[in-house]
């Protein structure tokens, strides 16, 4: 009898609360530890570097897959003619050097400084000219004539089917995905359109002109700065996250309320 009474006194949600507390502690701990690990990653800074330095960096870090003289191997494509824009995008978003072979390279903290990346870009440019890094003019979204609405229309027509209309990203085939576009450096957005990294198609200047690319960048930055008017946007993933939310939290709370309504108080 005493044991029964004891059990009755424990709050019915005590075990659930304990579980949530435990999960939060483990998740929080992991985040702190992994962030601490990331913080120690950046490579040492260097001053003015030349194409020769770029070549040395290339030989040390890239040639295993892309081959000596960047002609490509069975593990990596040739880099002749990809241009400095491509190098800057791949290296400065941390996609290259590749962390591991998989469906596609993941974004992570860059492994090189901007100077080192530029030096490698210069080296790649000497092997065969390709698209260069964009002029500052095309990244200045505060310039006169920048049309966010036009950028939004271009984004809807050319980008939204993969990257989601709110730039939240989306799934592609066989493990590939279009990454989310929140808080991306304007230069990297421009270079991605210009060079078509990974499985993204190329949007050259005849398709989307530099002015139009600037409008698209302005639209994406506008999304970054504007709060979601409708409140909590659940990742802007549409029916996927909204459905999950309402089926678990919405229906879950209705079930919980029903159980509470019909249970016998002790």
């Amino acid at each position: 009898m005493a044991k029964r009474k004891n059990r009755g006194r424990r709050h019915p949600l005590a075990s659930a609360a304990l579980l949530i507390l435990g999960l939060a502690a483990v998740g929080g701990g992991y985040t702190v530890v992994s962030e601490a690990a990331d913080a120690s990653a950046p490579a040492p800074a260097a001053s003015q570097l030349t194409a020769e330095d770029g070549q040395r960096l290339y030989m040390a870090n890239c040639a295993t897959c892309h081959g000596v003289e960047a002609v490509g191997t069975k593990n990596g494509p040739t880099l002749i003619g990809v241009g400095a824009a491509s190098v800057n995008f791949q290296v400065m978003t941390g996609r290259m050097p590749l962390a591991f072979q998989g469906p596609q390279a993941d974004q992570r903290n860059p492994q090189f400084t901007q100077e080192q990346s530029d030096a490698m870009g210069e080296y790649i440019q000497t092997l065969g000219a390709g698209p260069d890094k964009p002029d500052e003019e095309w990244l200045d979204t505060s310039a006169t004539g920048v049309d966010i609405a036009n950028g939004a229309e271009l984004f809807r027509i050319n980008c939204a089917m993969c990257h989601n209309v709110a730039g939240a990203g989306g799934a592609l085939t066989e493990g590939k995905f279009a990454p989310n576009l929140h808080d991306i450096d304007g230069a990297h957005i421009y270079e991605a359109m210009l060079t078509g990294p990974q499985n993204m198609p190329v949007f050259n200047d005849n398709n989307i002109s530099p002015e139009e690319k600037r409008d698209v960048i302005a639209y994406l930055h506008y999304l970054d700065e504007s709060p979601s008017v409708g409140g909590w946007d659940l990742g802007s993933l549409g029916p996927v996250s909204e459905g999950l939310f309402i089926w678990t939290l919405g229906l879950g709370s209705i079930v919980a309320l029903t159980v509470w309504l019909t249970s016998r108080p002790n």
């Binding site: 229309e153 993969c162 993204m200 949007f203 398709n207 509470w260 002790n266």
Partner: protein, 371 residues
């Protein structure tokens, strides 16, 4: 004793004579109602302190409800919606909603808490009454019905009765015919069987309408294309665009695996396919540059651009229709003709609108005739 004999025998039993058992099989070893478990008093029944505390909690909920309602009024004025500031809508909705829901939930939670903890907790059972009326009520109902029939002459005057039934049957028919208005004015099949593309129509960029030169399309590019000269103020602009939209891609020419009859439909690795999925008509435009897969975002149908957009995954039944393209003397990409088959999802008359003179099947009759 079989079930049949049992059912036969029961109506003769004395006790059951008065109850219409219908087709129910009455057995004598029925499950006995165990009654209620012994009543257990609640903590609030035993301990006056607990009772007092529960009372305070119910009061607390009702107080919270009052606070919520007042807060909603305050929030309405404190967070007004100002024009041209969308962020203000968010705060207004958030706090107004919080106040209102607190106002209503407080009443609900308080009432339930009150009923559970403080109202009488004795279990009682209320038996249902029989649904059948008394004999007198039943006889009276039949009487009224017969009287009504006699006085109105519904059975006797068969001419007007039958004409009333006919009139009632015809009355809803005009509404059925009016459903025709939902369909397009012109023949619906004609309207979706053809697109704006004609021989010599230039391919133009969506949405600017700038014509595209073949050498604009570098390898790996994907262009979203509409016919040149579309009038975006025309009343059927969106309908026509929905039929005519095309995705233009350039692949390394050696990657294309073209069938004999369609070699002339592409230009130097540049191919054009309808953007409308053959499954239920979503725009298929998720193009992967290196795998050459085209993915439909709605149901994950995947098309292989190297093999004339053959379906390699998902529910789509047919490949995407290919737009035959060429280059005119100024270097612009042009269509050789309309699509040789109706674009988009299946419809009953689709086969009648395939242009048999020009259409080249890529995967054999079976695949292309699929509904």
């Amino acid at each position: 004793m079989t079930a049949h004999e049992n059912a036969d025998a029961t109506p003769h039993g004395d006790a059951l004579d008065k109850i219409d058992t219908g087709s129910a099989v009455v057995t004598d070893d029925g499950f006995e109602n165990p009654g209620f478990p012994p009543h257990k008093p609640r903590q609030t029944d035993l301990d006056p302190q607990k009772e007092k505390r529960a009372e305070r909690q119910v009061f607390g909920w009702f107080l919270l409800s009052m606070v919520g309602s007042v807060f909603a009024i305050v929030a309405y004025f404190a967070f007004p919606i100002t024009e041209s500031d969308l962020g203000s809508v968010r705060l207004n909705n958030l706090f107004l909603g919080l106040g209102l829901s607190l106002g209503l939930l407080g009443i609900g939670f308080g009432a339930v808490h009150w009923a559970r903890q403080l109202m009488s907790g004795e279990e009682i059972a209320e038996d249902r009454h029989l649904t059948r009326g008394t004999e007198a009520t039943r006889a009276r109902a039949v009487e009224i019905f017969k009287l009504g029939d006699e006085e109105s002459g519904f059975s006797r005057r068969s001419l007007i009765r039958n004409s009333l039934i006919a009139a009632l049957a015809l009355f809803p028919l005009p509404a059925v015919f009016m459903f025709r208005d939902i369909a397009p004015k012109e023949d619906a099949v004609e309207a979706i069987a053809h697109t704006m593309w004609e021989a010599g129509t230039r391919l133009a960029l969506d949405p600017t309408g700038t014509p595209i030169k073949a050498d604009d399309v570098t390898i790996g590019s994907a262009f979203h294309v509409i016919p040149f000269g579309m009038d975006n103020h025309a009343h059927d602009y969106l309908d026509q665009k929905a039929l005519a939209v095309v995705l233009l891609m350039r692949l390394p020419a050696e990657d294309l695996n073209e069938v004999e009859g369609r070699r002339g439909w592409s230009y130097d690795g540049i191919v054009a396919y309808s953007k409308i999925c053959t499954h239920v008509g979503c725009p298929v435009a998720l193009y992967e540059q290196h795998t050459h897969h085209l993915l439909c975002p709605c149901h994950q149908s995947t098309f292989d651009v190297t093999n004339h957009a053959a379906v390699i995954f998902g529910p789509a039944a047919r490949p995407l229709p290919q737009l035959p393209i060429a280059v005119d003397d100024e270097g612009y990409l042009v269509a050789q003709s309309d699509f040789t088959e109706p674009i988009g999802p299946s419809f009953w008359e689709r086969q009648n609108h395939v242009n048999n003179d020009e259409h080249v099947q890529v995967l054999g009759q079976n695949t292309e005739d699929r509904a």
